[in-house]
């Protein structure tokens, strides 16, 4: 399986990358771990690849109250990030992507821009309320994660934009997060994935709660109905279960099945993994 022929150009700067893209009508490639597999089976055949893999300024994680994650940061880097207050859910989700070799090449930006519903990071960024920074020749634009994922393999990025960074808040001070998923035993993608971010007050009462789900929905989706099941209570097994039930109800029929797992099962698993993510998030909210 080989890609169809294409032209290849390498960008030395974000500006040049944007120029090359507009001149060639090509596609950006960073790690290539979303794009190349699709090109090898020839479902995608760009005429030009604009390689942004050498834009080292876009690689790395910096703390600034929250955290700015450069688009070229690899999953491995995220999974081993040791920064104080770095969202635990993000770290653990990055460690669940593919396998070590894939995580060494795959980038956060590429993953997110690919907007694969079975991927893990979109779910986490949605729950964290991350902000995506899109850069075009006209400047930069911030897009909230909730608006960024617009559909199956679709994002709010325009053709003339490059996703350059993702910002997330820090946790601690009563906030905790967790990601939990049921692995497809073949692909390792999420059969159902859930990310929970919770704030607890001094006596363990939940003061805010955001849960996003993915894997089974066409895009990473924040479930709005869960807060009422949880906020104002301690997160016990019972409240987590209730939140799981609420999650099942809220996704309703908006669930995709496949040969490994049918719609019913995926929805049931969503309930289970929402509960697990909530429980884990609460245990980290210190």
């Amino acid at each position: 399986m080989y890609p169809r022929p294409f032209e290849y150009v390498r960008a030395g700067s974000v500006e040049e990358a944007l120029d090359l893209k507009s001149k060639t009508g090509g596609r950006f490639i960073a790690g290539g771990h979303s794009l190349l597999p699709m090109m090898k089976i020839r479902v995608t055949s760009p005429e030009t690849l604009v390689d942004i893999g050498r834009l080292d300024d876009l690689r790395g994680i910096s703390a600034n109250g929250g955290f700015t994650i450069g688009a070229l940061t690899t999953h491995s880097m995220v999974a081993s990030e040791g920064g104080n207050g770095f969202p635990a859910a993000l770290k653990e989700a990055a460690g669940m992507i593919g396998d070590p070799q894939v995580r060494n090449r795959g980038t956060v930006g590429g993953n997110v821009a690919h907007a694969d519903p079975a991927s893990d990071l979109p779910t986490v960024f949605a729950a964290l309320g991350a902000t995506m920074t899109a850069t075009s020749k006209g400047g930069t634009r911030d897009i909230g994660a909730a608006d960024f994922f617009t559909g199956l393999f679709e994002s709010a990025l325009n053709d003339d934009e490059l996703l350059t960074a993702i910002e997330v808040g820090s946790e601690g001070g009563g906030r905790g997060s967790a990601y939990a998923k049921l692995f497809n035993p073949a692909s390792r993608y999420a059969v159902a994935g859930a990310c929970a971010v919770v704030d607890l007050d001094g006596d363990g009462t939940c003061t805010s709660c955001t849960v996003a789900v993915g894997g089974l929905t066409p895009k990473a989706t924040v479930l709005g109905s869960l807060a009422s099941a949880v906020v104002g209570s301690r997160i016990t097994e019972a409240t987590a279960e209730a939140a799981g039930q609420a999650a099942r109800a809220e996704v309703g029929d908006d669930v995709m099945g496949d040969v490994y797992a049918g719609v019913e099962y995926r929805r049931d698993m969503l309930g289970v993994f929402v509960a697990r993510a909530l429980t884990a998030a609460a245990s980290r909210a210190v």
Binding site: P5, G32, P37, D51, D99, R105
Partner: protein, 157 residues
């Protein structure tokens, strides 16, 4: 396009189509056929090499992306005719049968074990999630990686 890289300590250059996969560059242009291709969906790990110090699947990297990089393939692991401790451990522990997954398995294991001489069974089993073996049932591979990890201390990785 012209690409240059350091492969197994040697400067190499070649002219390739942009679509040439790194694995095909090392196999066909350089004649280093130790790196095998076992799948076409980036799953099996048979094609694992080290690129700039990291284990990567060379079937999912373009040769042009590796331009300027330092690459080590299975052929570059032994030095001065001596098997690398991980190769030796795979031999000692019967961690291979047909040998086809072995180069990728060994390359992945070297990185997995690096700096973790007391690596546990669970760490090895989880850490090899990107490498399939159809022959051994993995048990002896786990044993080999643990032995190799211990033997790598102080040596080259």
């Amino acid at each position: 396009m012209k690409v240059s890289m350091t492969v197994n300590g040697r400067e190499v250059t070649g002219t390739v189509e942009p679509r040439t996969l790194l694995v095909d560059f090392v196999r066909n242009n350089l004649g280093l056929t130790g790196t095998n291709v076992g799948c076409d969906t980036s799953q099996c790990g048979a094609c694992t090499v080290h690129m700039d110090g990291m284990a990567v699947k060379s079937c999912t990297v373009l040769a042009v992306q590796a331009d300027g990089s330092t690459v080590t393939t299975i052929e570059g692991l032994a030095s001065d005719g001596q098997l690398h401790p991980m190769q030796q451990a795979f031999w000692d522990a019967h961690g291979l049968q047909c040998g086809f997954c072995t180069p990728g398995m060994v390359m992945a294991s070297v990185k997995l074990a690096d700096g973790n001489p007391a690596i546990t069974d669970a760490e090895v089993r989880h850490g090899l999630e990107g490498n399939f073996c159809r022959c051994t049932g993995y048990g002896n591979i786990v044993e080999a990686v643990k032995q190799g990890a211990a033997a790598m201390v102080g040596g080259e990785s």
